[in-house]
C-alpha cells in the first residue's frame, strides 16, 4: 500500500490552523495549569470540556448501541449497511471523549484509580466504569472489520459467535451511562435551574441520546455519501427519521409532564435568559424537527431530512450545554464563556475525529457490507404508512405541549427573583460586648501598670476589630493550664501602641507616660 500525501485544499489549511492552536493550547494547559488556559474557576469548575466534549460526545455516539440493537437483537438486517459506520463513529466518539477527559482532569495520570478505588455511591465512578467497558465493547464490535480487511477468517468466525452477547452488553452499558450522565446532575438539586433540574434527568438523558445518536447517524451517512461518493441509504434514513420523531414526541411529553409535576412550568415564560435558552432548545431543537419528520413529503426529501437531523443535533447540543452551563450560571454568579484555548482543544478533538473516520474509511471496509443494499427496509413503525396516524400522534403531542404552555401562563408566578436586599444594617453599638479590660504585665522599669480598655479604643460609630487584630495584636490567648484563667498577654509594648499613639492618630506616648501608665504609688 503506497501512501500519498493528499493535495492541500482549503480544509487542509483549516485543519492545520486548528491543530496548531490545539497543540499550543495543550502545551499551555499542561505546563501552566487549568487556571491559566481556561476560564474555569472555583465558581464554575466545569466548562465546555465537560459540557461539550464529554456530555455531547458520549450522547452523539449513542447511535452505536441503537443501531447495533436494531440489527442484531431486533434482527432488522436491512439496517446492516449503516451498522459498521455507526459503530465506527461511536468507537471514535468514545476514544475522543476519553482524550478530551485527559485535558479536563487535574491529574489525568490518576484516571486508572477508578479501577481500584471503588466508590459505588458515586455516579462518576459508574460513568467511568461504563465508558471504559463500553469503549472496549465498541472496539471488539468493530474488530471484525479489521479482520475482514486482513482476511483473518478464523478470528472473524470466532467473533461472529460472540456478537450477540457483545451487543447485549453494549446496550446495557450504554443504557447505564447515557442515563448516568444525567444522574450526575441529580446531585445538584440546589444549583441547577429548575427548567432543567429533575429527578428524571437520567431518563431524559437516555431518551434524548437515542434521538441525538440517530440524528448523528443521518448526519454522518449524508456527509459520508457526499465525501466518499457512495450511495445514500436514503430509505433507511427516512425510517430512522420516523423513529426520531416518535422518540422526541415521547421525550417532550415526559419533560413537560415532569415540569408540570414539579411546578416549574412558570419558569418557561418568566422572560429570564434561562427561559429563552430553554425555548430555543425545545422549540427549535426538538419540536421543529419532530414536526418536519412527521411529514412524509418532508422526510422523503434528502435535503430536508439532513436539515431535520441538524436541528435535532442542535437541540441535543443545546440541551446538554443548558444543563452543564446555562442552568448552572445563576447559582455560580459568574458568566462562564470558554477561553479560546478551551475552544481550540475542543475543535482539535472534533477535527481529529473527522480525520480518523476518513482514514478508517480509506483503509478498512467500513462501507463493505453493502451487498444487502437491494433489500427494501421494512417499516419500523407500522403507523407511518398512510401518515394519517402519524399526524394524529403529532397533533396529540402538540396539543399536550400547547396545553402545558397555556397552563403555565395561567399559573404564571415567577418566584426566582432574588430576595430584595435589605438596607445595610450596621452593627448596633449596644449589641457589642467588649472583652474585659486587659491588665498588661508590668515590666521592672515601667512607671506604672497599663490597663487596656476596649471601649475607649473602638470607634463606636464604626466598630471594627481588624485595625488592630490580628495584625498588630495577636488574639491567640497564651496557653493557660486547665482550670485557670488565661494569663495576661505579654510582649505588648511601645512599638505596638505607638502605631497609633504617635501624635497623629492619638497622643504621642513619648510625651505623656501617665496617659497609659497608672502609677499606684
Amino acid at each position: 500500500m503506497k501512501f500519498r500525501l493528499p493535495k492541500p485544499t482549503f480544509w487542509t489549511f483549516v485543519l492545520a490552523a486548528i491543530w496548531a492552536a490545539g497543540l499550543f493550547s495543550t502545551l499551555y494547559r499542561f505546563y501552566y495549569g487549568l487556571g491559566a488556559a481556561t476560564h474555569l474557576s472555583d465558581r464554575f469548575p466545569w466548562g465546555i470540556w465537560i459540557g461539550f466534549d464529554i456530555l455531547i460526545g458520549v450522547g452523539l455516539a449513542a447511535g452505536g448501541f441503537a443501531i447495533a440493537a436494531t440489527v442484531y437483537i431486533f434482527n432488522l438486517k436491512a439496517y446492516k449497511p449503516i451498522a459498521r459506520s455507526t459503530i465506527l463513529t461511536a468507537f471514535l466518539g468514545y476514544v475522543l471523549v476519553i482524550t478530551a477527559l485527559m485535558f479536563d482532569l487535574g491529574k489525568p495520570y490518576n484516571v486508572w484509580h477508578v479501577i481500584i478505588m471503588w466508590n459505588p455511591h458515586s455516579v462518576m465512578f459508574e460513568v467511568g466504569w461504563c465508558v471504559m467497558l463500553y469503549t472496549t465493547v465498541l472496539f471488539l464490535e468493530f474488530l471484525p472489520v479489521v479482520f475482514e480487511r486482513f482476511r483473518l477468517e478464523r478470528w472473524q468466525r470466532l467473533f461472529h459467535n460472540i456478537t450477540i452477547p457483545l451487543v447485549i452488553i453494549g446496550v446495557l452499558l450504554s443504557t447505564l451511562h447515557q442515563s448516568s450522565l444525567g444522574t450526575l446532575y441529580v446531585l445538584v438539586a440546589s444549583k441547577l435551574h429548575p427548567l432543567w433540574y429533575s429527578g428524571m434527568l437520567p431518563v431524559f438523558f437516555f431518551i434524548s441520546a437515542i434521538a441525538g445518536g440517530l440524528a448523528m447517524v443521518i448526519f454522518e451517512s449524508y456527509l459520508s455519501a457526499r465525501a466518499f461518493g457512495k450511495e445514500l441509504e436514503h430509505a433507511l434514513l427516512v425510517n430512522l427519521s420516523r423513529v426520531i420523531a416518535v422518540v422526541i414526541g415521547i421525550y417532550l411529553v415526559l419533560r413537560i409532564q415532569d415540569m408540570a409535576g414539579r411546578g416549574a412550568l412558570n419558569y418557561i415564560v418568566d422572560g429570564s435568559a434561562e427561559s429563552i435558552y430553554f425555548l430555543v432548545e425545545i422549540l427549535l431543537g426538538f419540536v421543529t424537527p419532530m414536526v418536519l419528520f412527521f411529514i412524509p413529503r418532508v422526510r422523503a426529501n434528502k435535503a430536508w431530512l439532513f436539515f431535520g437531523a441538524v436541528l435535532v443535533l442542535f437541540g441535543f447540543i443545546m440541551n446538554r450545554l443548558n444543563v452543564a452551563i446555562t442552568g448552572m450560571t445563576r447559582y455560580s454568579g459568574v458568566d462562564y464563556l470558554p477561553s479560546w484555548m478551551e475552544l481550540a482543544v475542543t475543535l482539535s478533538v472534533v477535527a481529529a475525529g473527522i480525520v480518523a473516520f476518513r482514514f478508517a474509511v480509506k483503509f478498512l471496509p467500513v462501507f463493505g457490507a453493502n451487498e444487502e443494499l437491494g433489500v427494501h427496509p421494512p417499516p419500523l413503525i407500522a403507523a407511518g404508512r398512510s401518515g394519517r396516524r402519524a399526524m394524529a400522534v403529532l397533533f396529540a403531542i402538540l396539543l399536550l405541549l400547547v396545553a402545558g404552555l397555556g397552563w403555565s401562563l395561567i399559573m404564571h408566578k415567577p418566584n426566582l427573583a432574588p430576595p430584595a436586599p435589605d438596607p445595610a444594617k450596621p452593627l448596633a453599638a449596644e449589641s457589642l460586648s467588649y472583652p474585659a479590660p486587659i491588665a498588661f504585665t508590668k515590666a521592672e522599669a515601667s512607671p506604672g501598670q497599663v490597663t487596656f480598655n476596649h471601649e475607649s479604643h473602638v470607634d463606636q460609630a464604626e466598630p471594627n476589630c481588624k485595625g488592630c487584630h490580628a495584625g498588630l495584636f495577636s488574639v491567640r490567648p497564651p496557653a493557660a493550664p486547665a482550670g485557670q484563667a488565661a494569663a495576661a498577654p505579654t510582649g505588648v509594648g511601645h512599638t505596638q501602641c505607638g502605631t497609633c499613639h504617635n501624635g497623629e492618630k492619638a497622643f504621642n506616648y513619648e510625651e505623656s507616660c501617665d496617659g497609659c501608665h497608672i502609677s499606684t504609688e
Binding site: I73, H113, M124, V171, L176, A189, H469
Partner: protein, 246 residues
C-alpha cells in the same frame, strides 16, 4: 465522640484570628485574602451587612462531595471530619459541582492541582483529641468546638434564652440532612449568602435512589434483550423453514 463546631455570628468581631490560625497550622500561603474561601484560605471571614460571617467546610453528616468522588479521595471520618486524600484524587472536580455549600476549592494556578478545603485539623488536632486551630484561636468565643449533640443543645439554649437576639434557626441542623458545623445569627441566613434552597435530606440519597436500581436494570435488561433476540430469531427461522416447527 462526634466533633462539631458552633459559630455564633452575633459574637464574631471579625478579627480573622480563625483564618490566620488555620493558615498557620495548615501551612497555607498567609498573603492571600482572608475574606474569601480559596484553595489557600480554608477558613474565611466575610463581612456582609455589618455581620461578620465565618466560612468553612460544613462537614456534612452525609457529605455530597464524598458520595460524588469516584475514587474515595474524600471521606467522612467517625470523628465527624470530612477529609481529603490528594494522592487518590484524579481532579475531576465533581465534588465541587456536588457540594451544595460550594466549599471544595481547586488549585487553579498549579500544573498538578489538588482540591483544598477545611479538614477539621483532622491529623494535627482532632485525631489527638484536641480542638481545631480556629476555635482555639477565637478570642470572643464566637466559634467553639464541642461534642455535636452538646453544641446543638447549647445553640438551642441560647436561642431560647435570648429569643430577640437570634433568628430562630440553627443553620446546619437540617440543611443537607445535618452538618457538623452550626451557625447562629441575628440576621436571616439567606441575607448573609448562606445557600437558602437547601433540601433537608442528605444529598447523596438523590443519586443513590437512581444508582441502587442498576443491578436490577442490568439483570432484567439482559434477560429482556436475550429473550427478545431469541424470539425474533426463532420466528425468522421458522418462517424460513417451517418444517422445524415440530
Amino acid at each position: 465522640m462526634k466533633a462539631a463546631i458552633l459559630t455564633d455570628l452575633t459574637k464574631c468581631v471579625g478579627c480573622e484570628a480563625c483564618a490566620l490560625a488555620c493558615k498557620e497550622i495548615n501551612e497555607l500561603d498567609r498573603t492571600s485574602a482572608n475574606n474569601l474561601l480559596t484553595a489557600y484560605t480554608w477558613s474565611a471571614v466575610e463581612n456582609r451587612k455589618g455581620v461578620n460571617i465565618r466560612r468553612q467546610c460544613m462537614h456534612c453528616e452525609e457529605p455530597a462531595c464524598a458520595s460524588a468522588c469516584p475514587v474515595t479521595a474524600l471521606t467522612k471520618t467517625p470523628e465527624g471530619a470530612v477529609i481529603y486524600d490528594g494522592h487518590k484524587c484524579m481532579g475531576c472536580r465533581y465534588c465541587m459541582i456536588a457540594c451544595p455549600f460550594g466549599i471544595p476549592k481547586y488549585q487553579w494556578d498549579k500544573a498538578i492541582p489538588v482540591i483544598q478545603k477545611c479538614i477539621f485539623c483532622y491529623e494535627k488536632a482532632l485525631q489527638k483529641g484536641e480542638q481545631p486551630a480556629c476555635t482555639r484561636a477565637c478570642p470572643t468565643g464566637a466559634t467553639i468546638f464541642g461534642e455535636r449533640s452538646a453544641l446543638i443543645a447549647e445553640a438551642q439554649r441560647r436561642m431560647a434564652a435570648q429569643p430577640q437576639a437570634y433568628v430562630q434557626h440553627l443553620y446546619g441542623l437540617r440543611e443537607a440532612g445535618g452538618t457538623s458545623v452550626f451557625y447562629l445569627s441575628a440576621v436571616p441566613f439567606a441575607d448573609l449568602g448562606f445557600p437558602a434552597n437547601m433540601i433537608e435530606d442528605p444529598y447523596p440519597r438523590l443519586t443513590w435512589k437512581v444508582l441502587n436500581k442498576i443491578p436490577s436494570i442490568v439483570t432484567t435488561g439482559a434477560a429482556f434483550l436475550a429473550g427478545l433476540w431469541w424470539i425474533v430469531n426463532r420466528r425468522i427461522k421458522l418462517q424460513e423453514s417451517p418444517e422445524e416447527r415440530s
